[in-house]
Symmetry: C2
Subunit: 416 residues, 2 copies
């Protein structure tokens, strides 16, 4: 009976644990939150389309019936390889096998002070913060009689043209250009501006070019103003400064860069600039075949030498792969290399609008959107959540109403 | 065309505004949150059974189609009767008619320092705080190996045996005695203690005696330990001190007293000890027939000289009544007295358990619970919320699973 410690309850950690079903081992999952989060739908919480409870599930509820799995809510402070234990803020736990699946945070490329004005979108807390800021900004615009001041509240700037940036821009455009009309008296949808800023000449750089172009046209048609080839030079309380000028706004969302928690530094091995671990072909780290790093925290190059992207399917497949190795106690020389099966890319742009590249089949518009809906419902964890999300989307599709427009924050500043 | 200002978007304010449908007046609703909250189900958010978005709806969404109604998110600081205007934190608004429907907060009978350890349950923020504290306490118990220390995390004390206290105690008993079993490894349901403390000799004092007794038996059967005739003398970080001894706990919920915001002091009229306004038979205040106070903030005595309780049906009926007077510009001498139609009392104790007194018909057990469910779904605002809540209850009834067990709080202390 081995002691297996899994750090992180995201896709990678969850799938590792599930693959260990029936193993005669003692398994501990440690996470600093008590829930598994379905990150691909996080932007829908940030834009008031879904509730936190729709896309999150307590990790211990997922493993209710796995009596050999213990779930611990705590933060890992460091890893002691010599003594084979992880140090928690509140204790320590020994291990024979360790799986590190801690995901990534957004990164400001060294400009951490930008965060205060330009929150990123990785956790439920992030999503609720962004939701409250967007809603509060509209409330302030409703009260502001000076059109110049009002403009700042009605301008939204999204930095980064990857899938998150595209999805956020589309969702904000739907709120600001459509659902507003009925509910506010002091401004019109045409008073709002949504800018999507990207340093490269194209959105969705990982997608086939025709889909990138399609996404650009869709967003432009929804009223999003694309600012390509535009480099951000500063972010402050005035707005976003770029090499093409200043965008004055109170609403900035950061969707531009990722980095991994400094925790990996305690492994004392080579990391890349974003803090990721160079893993071996079996996802283990150099010189330690029973410590694995998977998901966003791992840097893995496939057979063609291409770096795998930080997306959910990669973490899921790596989790299953590593779980199997540990369950079977496969020794290093008998481990087959991890092989990623790329099933394609999907991004939604708005109601009945999406782009998809599924096994080379390029889809867009309504069909891509339906495919996107079904695939996301299918991969959501928990039957109840599937049912709820389906209900919400059906409701939204029919009524154009965003349901969860609540400002609950206790921050008194919100009212100032 | 008159200017009508409604302060508060709870039941009273909402119903006043709805009764003004079609009025040729300019209506402004001011609330310090952006949502209408269905308070009778708030305890279900606090106990992780429902999401905030299930029982709250943006006020401006309720009035999307009422183009003569403007909704303002702001806090009223004071009321200037002479100049006929309300002073906001962020501006001021004049009125011809004023309706004050600001509800109540919980009150600690002069011991405000108790609040830090014994939060009450009036707002969504309160409910989320209580939810996170309960869940975090169970997480800490799972990590705590010392049984004495663990006991404090597994003890829950509810102060106050009215409907809120009874409903909270029942809901916590269901979590702690039932749904826990599957998800935690370090303690058993029998390790948990739930105390309900009440100073009077009986729970649910406003109910017929046989229903109070029934509720007491139901709660005891679910594992709640009733401490009647017990007076709280202090609340601190150790627990609750009473005239019958100390209850050591980290989990205290206050459901014992109410008081109204000091805002009413600025009206410069007679208030009772809880800060309520003595209103006239038409809900207007002494000497000012166009200023009305309704709901929990009003002190109204019916034909028999009985004081109306602070419950939703009273606020709803008063809102409709006042809305009609204002719509018709009925002069004081032509106003009929407000008459409350008491349709009865309902409180739920747990799954398939409730007590109801409907027009003198006394129900308990499953039938009362079904009646409770239907009446609450019926009065919930918004079709979408009705659908969601029904779905959640059906799901819970079948699976015994509490859905929304998320700890999202940003407070770093939570992990300590």
């Amino acid at each position: 009976m081995s002691k297996i410690v899994i750090v992180g309850g995201g896709f990678g950690g969850l799938m590792t644990a599930k693959a260990l079903k029936g193993a005669n081992d003692e398994i501990v999952i440690i996470d600093k939150t008590n829930y598994h989060l379905f990150q691909p739908l996080l932007y829908q919480v940030a834009t008031a389309a879904l509730s936190p409870g729709d896309i999150a599930l307590p990790i211990r509820a997922v493993f209710s019936k796995f009596t050999n799995i213990k779930v611990i809510l705590d933060e890992v402070v460091s890893i002691n390889r010599t003594e084979r234990k992880v140090i928690l803020r509140d204790g320590e736990i020994g291990f024979d096998y360790l799986v590190i699946s801690i995901g990534s945070r957004h990164s400001y490329f060294g400009n951490d002070k930008w965060e205060a004005n330009a929150p990123g979108l990785k956790t439920l807390g992030d999503a609720l913060l962004i939701r409250e800021r967007i809603l509060m900004s509209l409330e302030k615009a409703e009260k502001e009689d000076d059109p110049v001041k009002r403009k700042k509240y009605l301008t939204f700037v999204i930095i980064g043209g990857g899938p998150t940036g595209v999805e956020m821009a589309g969702a904000i455009a739907e709120i600001a250009k459509r659902t507003l009309m009925r509910d506010f008296r002091n401004f019109k949808p045409s008073d709002t501006n949504i800018y999507l800023i990207e340093a490269m000449p194209m959105l969705l750089n990982n997608y086939p070019q025709e889909l990138s172009v399609k996404a650009q046209n869709d967003l432009a048609g929804m009223g999003v103003e694309l600012k390509l080839n535009t480099k951000v030079t500063d972010v402050n309380s005035n707005g976003v400064e770029t090499d093409k000028g200043l965008f004055e706004t109170k609403n900035i969302i950061w969707a531009a860069g990722n980095s991994v928690s400094p925790l990996l530094g305690s492994l004392d091995i080579k990391l890349d600039r974003a803090g990721r671990v160079y893993v071996k072909k079996d996802m283990s780290i150099e010189g330690d075949p029973n410590i694995f790093v998977i998901g966003d925290a791992a840097l893995f190059f496939d057979e063609k030498g291409k770096q795998l992207p930080g997306v959910a399917p990669v973490a899921i497949q790596q989790g299953r792969y590593v779980g199997k190795i540990i369950k079977n106690k496969t020794v290093p020389q008998n481990r087959k290399s991890f092989h990623y099966v790329d099933k394609g890319n999907l991004a939604t742009i708005g109601r009945a609008k999406a782009v998809a590249d599924i096994h080379g089949l390029k889809l867009s518009g309504f069909i891509a959107w339906v495919a996107w809906c079904f695939i996301h419902i299918f991969f959501l964890i928990g039957f109840r959540n599937r049912f709820r999300v389906m209900g919400e989307w059906g409701w939204y599709y029919i009524t154009f109403k965003h349901g969860i427009r609540l400002i609950v924050g206790k921050d008194d500043d919100d009212l100032k």
